[in-house]
Amino acid sequence: MIPPHYYLFLGTSLFTIGVVGVLTRRNVIVILMSIELILNAVNINLVAFSQWFHSMDGQAFAIFVITDAAAEAAIGLGLIIALFRNKETVNADEIDLLKW
């Protein structure tokens, strides 16, 4: 039986790696992949607590998080295609139309 804080540390580490990817990478596709890492870290916590409490609520929430991830990936990749068509770039720091 693995104690729940092992899973919490794993989730924290995966979350941190995802945040590093979001904050430091330039390629927007890799930034979207880092967001998927963050969502997976959240799911690890949800499933760990779900098993620890023998309650299905956490796993139901994990299903909802995966649903959100699918919607977010579809919208995000559609945005990337539209962006590439207009600006011919995938670098996040070159998309600075709103920058003063």
């Binding site: 693995i2 104690p3 804080h5 092992y6 899973y7 794993l10 924290t12 580490s13 995966l14 979350f15 941190t16 790696i17 945040v19 590093v20 990817g21 904050l23 430091t24 990478r25 330039r26 390629n27 596709i29 890799v30 979207l32 992949m33 880092s34 998927e36 890492l37 997976n40 690890i44 499933v47 779900s50 098993q51 620890w52 409490f53 023998h54 309650s55 299905m56 609520d57 796993q59 139901a60 994990a62 299903i63 909802f64 995966i66 649903t67 959100d68 991830a69 699918a70 977010e72 579809a74 919208i75 990749l77 559609g78 990337i80 295609i81 539209a82 995938v90 670098n91 996040a92 720091d93």
Partner: protein, 170 residues
């Protein structure tokens, strides 16, 4: 060391190692491949916790659906130029410092709250009738309205993706 712990440490090491590779690779296709490895090992961790349904959803939806979508978009978008440019933005040092502070806060919170995790374990008997049945009961009894809202969200996302990827709006 019991077999379960060996499996846990193996899976989590593979997950974290390939996650680091995801955010450091120059080629976005390689990033997708390493992300698939991460998703498989996270799926293995779900399986270890008897969350079989979430494991299957992870494989079918994440690895089979979302990652294929990523690969398609990488083929549609020309990444040859971006692969030759700098991979990290100018504020990478500031970002890294922020993340170190965030990680220190999280680990400190977990460490201090360590006793708090000695939570009373739930009812000793796991729900009967298998994991899929239990999740179905939770989703369609307790979370009926959220399921409907999620289906509307997916519809909106589908229409939005089609509209945004369209060539020209008339």
């Amino acid at each position: 060391m019991p077999l379960q712990q060996i499996a846990f440490f193996l899976l989590s090491e593979v997950a974290l190692g390939s996650a680091v590779l995801v955010i450091t690779r120059r080629n976005a296709v390689h990033s997708v491949m390493w992300l698939i490895v991460t998703l498989f090992s996270v799926g293995g961790i779900y399986l270890m916790q008897h969350a079989e349904f979430v494991f299957v959803v992870q494989i079918i939806l994440y690895v089979g659906g979302i990652m294929v979508l990523f690969l398609f978009v990488i083929m549609l978008v020309n990444l040859d130029v971006a692969a030759k440019q700098a991979q990290f933005s100018r504020q990478w040092l500031l970002g890294l410092v922020t993340v170190v502070v965030l990680a220190a806060e999280l680990v400190y919170g977990l460490y201090r709250g360590h006793e708090g995790f000695a939570l009373a374990q739930g009812a000793a008997t796991p729900p009967t009738g298998g994991n899929t049945q239990a999740i179905a009961l939770a989703l369609y009894q307790d979370y009926m309205l959220p399921v409907e809202i999620a289906s509307i969200l997916l519809l909106v996302a589908m229409v939005g993706a089609v509209v945004m990827a369209k060539k020209k709006l008339e």
